[in-house]
């Protein structure tokens, strides 16, 4: 009987797959389609490479932990105040990512399925992931393993149904190397899709071996999710054209709504897509909440961590409820792009430098 308390390769793979599924379908495509006038696959490949590099940096950092949690080890090596300063952007990033995910998903539900339901009620769905997060990381992983069985095949079926009514000429230019996306804010706003490894880095202790396994799992998940992500971008483009797609708020949902086959018993496939996405979103929100709780637990005394978790939940709920509109969600993502780039690349480099310096200091003292 499997009683393990650590994430193995398969568990990490499942979590990363769900992470991609939770973000790729409804936030990412509109950013990417607006970010370039060239071929869409180029920024996609660019981000893939950046994500793999980021995951590799984190793997290097995590391999130095010797079976201890990342933040605990940093706190032990450089003290609580420098670690707090180092982790503050990380904390803000996690909080922001959670708020954006909750609100954007509630917004999509409101746009597609339940237009008269108040956003505050829809945001109340965060209670379920919060309770799961409080139970620990293994219940989240077990839930993820169940959801992946239901959600991924459904997503694949939806993608395959999306292959109908395509006009391949609408995807032109297929090969145009254009670097205009580098200077586009929306390109950086899309970084939210590629940050799954940051969350898994915070939720459990790592050793050299487990860090390597986690990095490989991320790579494999990225490889498997790539057709999914490409489908979410290209299927609307090949149906509606580049111009119209870039104007749509949620292009893939619109694509799903446009599908009609006499043998498909469901008329509104967009609703099925949104319902399937809920499985991805709930698990990822639980993971983010757990990572936030773990971050707070490192810096707060044990007595205060429960109160802090509850306050955190309330803060997320209230912030998500009071974001005025979808456009503001996009704005938040664009404004916090720098924060995400710091978390992706600078934080692991600084962490490695701090750990290295602390190790040298200890060696000198020992000598």
């Amino acid at each position: 009987m499997d009683k393990s308390t650590k994430l193995g390769g398969y568990e990490s793979f499942v979590i990363h797959l769900l992470y991609f599924g939770s973000t790729a379908g409804f936030i990412y495509p509109s950013f990417l389609t607006r970010s370039t006038s060239g071929s869409f696959w180029i920024p996609l490949v660019f981000w893939c490479a950046a994500a793999i590099f980021g995951a590799w940096l984190y793997a290097r950092l995590l391999s130095r932990l010797q079976d201890r949690p990342l933040l605990t080890e940093l706190k032990r090596a450089v003290g609580p105040i420098p670690t707090s300063l180092l982790c503050l952007p990380l904390f803000v990033f996690l909080l922001g990512a959670l708020v954006v995910m909750l609100r954007s998903y509630a917004e999509i539900i409101s746009m597609t399925m339940l237009p008269t339901t108040p956003i505050a009620f829809l945001n109340g769905m965060i209670i379920a992931p919060a309770l799961l997060a409080s139970a620990g990381v293994m219940p989240i992983v077990r839930s993820a393993k169940v959801f992946v069985v239901f959600a991924v095949p459904l997503s694949v079926v939806l993608l395959m149904l999306g292959l109908s009514d395509l006009n391949w000429s609408l995807g032109i230019p297929w090969v145009r190397f254009n670097s205009d996306f580098i200077s586009n804010n929306q390109f950086y706003a899309g970084s939210c899709l590629w940050m799954g490894f940051v969350i898994t880095a915070l939720i459990q202790p790592y050793s050299q071996r487990s860090a390597r396994v986690a990095c490989r799992a991320y790579g494999l998940a990225l490889l498997c999710a790539l057709p999914l992500i490409a489908g979410y971008i290209y299927l609307p483009v090949l149906t509606f054209g580049r111009e119209l797609t870039s104007q749509l708020t949620v292009p893939f949902v619109s694509k799903m709504d446009s599908i009609y086959h006499y043998w498909v018993i469901v008329d509104n496939l967009g609703a099925i897509f949104v319902a399937t996405s809920m499985l991805y979103v709930l698990v990822v929100m639980a993971l983010k909440l757990h990572a936030l709780n773990e971050t707070m637990r490192t810096f707060l005394p044990p007595l205060g961590s429960k109160i802090a978790s509850t306050s955190l939940l309330l803060a997320v709920f209230i912030t998500a409820t009071f974001i005025p509109s979808w456009r503001d969600i996009e704005l938040v993502l664009m404004l916090t792009a720098g924060l995400r780039l710091y978390v992706m690349f600078v934080f692991p480099l600084l962490g490695m430098a701090f750990l290295h310096a602390a190790g040298r200091r200890m060696q000198e003292r020992a000598a």
Binding site: M1, M113, L114, L132, I140, V146, A271, T276, M278
Partner: protein, 455 residues
């Protein structure tokens, strides 16, 4: 072999203190089946046998009572060749009498000799009542712990099969047997289980289900059964060989298998006796039935009242036409039908078998037809309800079936509030809840397949 006469010589007599005979008489005062028999003299001392007529074996008693002659019975006692004997004070003798033993004492002694004359009143080994055997051994556990032990030992003839006995219940003193297969069962789980059993404080214990409740009393938020309950020795032995522990309560024909995970409740013992592919097909069928049972009424509510646009227009129109004239909202309509079908199910279970089929017929056909003609529910809902009821009976484990009967209401409320998304949300909550559950230290939602490289 014990020498009864030697034991009698050793019995203490303390002048001034009440004798055992008097104390027992006082303790069992007003017990019509309590018998005290003068069986003879031994060196001018009267020997008395005290026992409960209802619990002692008349055949075993016959030896001591048949030649109840007034006189010395030393020679007869010297030749005693019965069960092992033991001495005891008042408390021990009282307890022994309650367990079916007889106590032999002198009129003035403060101690007595306990003779094991217990006779078990129970049925013989028969076929299982609650689990239909399609293929495999036809015998089932009985209410006798020793018989049940023998049935398991007949399946596993190995010294690795271990058995520990406990007594639980301050008044009932019920015997409990804990079985494990050495080398396969998780020792920490076993130690935890033994500790929990030893820590049980209750007046009486009548059934294994009650024992499970007492074992899990700390976990108040549990809804799902955390141990498989079975009448079949073949299933118990299979579980033992798979590394589980089996608990049997004396007086209950149901054995508990711990730890049990969610998928255990979907396996039938027959799965091992039929072709592997057929077993997988049947397993798939059961899971499909579970999904239909849990989600069909909720989907009906969601797709006919909240997310009407999700369905094909033709289906939505057909559903609307079917509901024409029905005065209630879809939720009320569905709730009424589900409650009625649960009434019928419960009535069928409680009534004698000869009448239950009539109730099912009256409930299913007559009531179903009448309720449609009265325009209380739609035709489509009758199909949905019937499918829900049928799929509930596919559940292998009775306790799991009960849980599903409750859960479908919970999911239906979700569907009423948020339609299709409510159904998905309830499903997610259900999975979250199952993920947090543990059965005796093992995660409830886990795979039985060991990890690669794990010891």
């Amino acid at each position: 072999m014990s020498d009864l006469l030697t034991f009698i010589y050793r019995l203490d007599e303390e002048p001034g203190t009440p004798s055992l005979y008097e104390q027992l008489n006082e303790a069992f005062n007003d017990s019509a089946d309590y018998i005290t028999e003068w069986i003879g003299n031994n060196e001018e001392t009267e020997l008395i046998l005290c026992y409960l007529r209802s619990l002692c074996s008349s055949v075993k008693l016959e030896y001591l009572l048949q030649s109840n002659e007034h006189g010395d019975i030393s020679a007869k006692l010297r030749d005693y060749r019965g069960n092992d004997l033991s001495e005891g004070d008042f408390e021990r003798c009282k307890k022994a009498i309650c367990q079916g033993s007889a106590v032999l004492c002198k009129r003035d002694s403060t101690e007595g000799i306990i003779l094991d004359l217990e006779y078990f009143h129970g049925r013989s080994v028969q076929s299982p009542v609650t689990e239909n055997v399609l293929q495999g051994p036809m015998n089932a556990f009985t209410e006798n712990l020793d018989v049940n032990t023998a049935l398991i030992r007949q399946q596993i003839r190995s010294s690795k099969l271990k058995l520990w006995e406990y007594r639980v219940g301050e008044e009932s003193h019920t015997r409990i047997g804990v079985y494990s297969y050495s080398g396969k069962t998780d020792e920490s789980m076993l130690a935890q289980l033994k500790e929990r059993i030893a820590g049980i404080r209750t007046e009486g214990l009548q059934d294994s289900g009650q024992l499970l409740r007492l074992l899990l009393s700390r976990n108040r938020m549990k809804l799902f059964p955390l141990a498989v309950s079975t009448e079949r020795p073949d299933r118990a032995s299979t579980e033992l060989l798979a590394g589980k522990a089996i608990i049997i309560v004396d007086g209950s024909p149901f054995a508990l298998s711990v730890p049990s995970i969610y998928t255990d409740f979907w396996h039938s013992p027959e799965d091992k006796y039929v072709n592997g592919n057929v077993a997988y097909f049947l397993l798939g069928l059961r899971f499909l039935a579970m999904l239909v049972n849990l989600f069909l009424p909720a989907l009906y509510v969601a797709l006919t009242s909240v997310n009407v646009d999700v369905n094909r227009l033709e289906i939505s129109l057909a559903a609307s036409a079917s509901r024409e004239g029905v005065p209630y909202p879809v939720f009320i309509e569905t709730l009424v039908m589900l409650i009625i079908i649960d009434f019928i199910t419960e009535a069928g279970l409680r009534l004698p078998k000869t009448i239950s089929s009539t109730v099912t017929m009256v409930g299913g056909v007559v009531l179903g037809q009448a309720i449609i003609q009265a325009n209380i529910v739609s035709h489509l809902l009758v199909i949905v309800t019937a499918a829900t009821a049928i799929t509930n009976f596919i559940v292998v484990d009775y306790q799991m079936g009960l849980v599903q009967r409750i859960l479908k209401y919970f999911i239906m409320i979700g569907a009423t509030v948020a339609g299709l998304l409510g159904v998905v949300f309830c499903f997610a909550c259900l999975v979250f809840y199952l993920s947090c559950l543990e059965s005796f230290g093992s995660p409830y939602l886990t795979s039985l397949r060991p990890k690669k490289g794990a010891s």
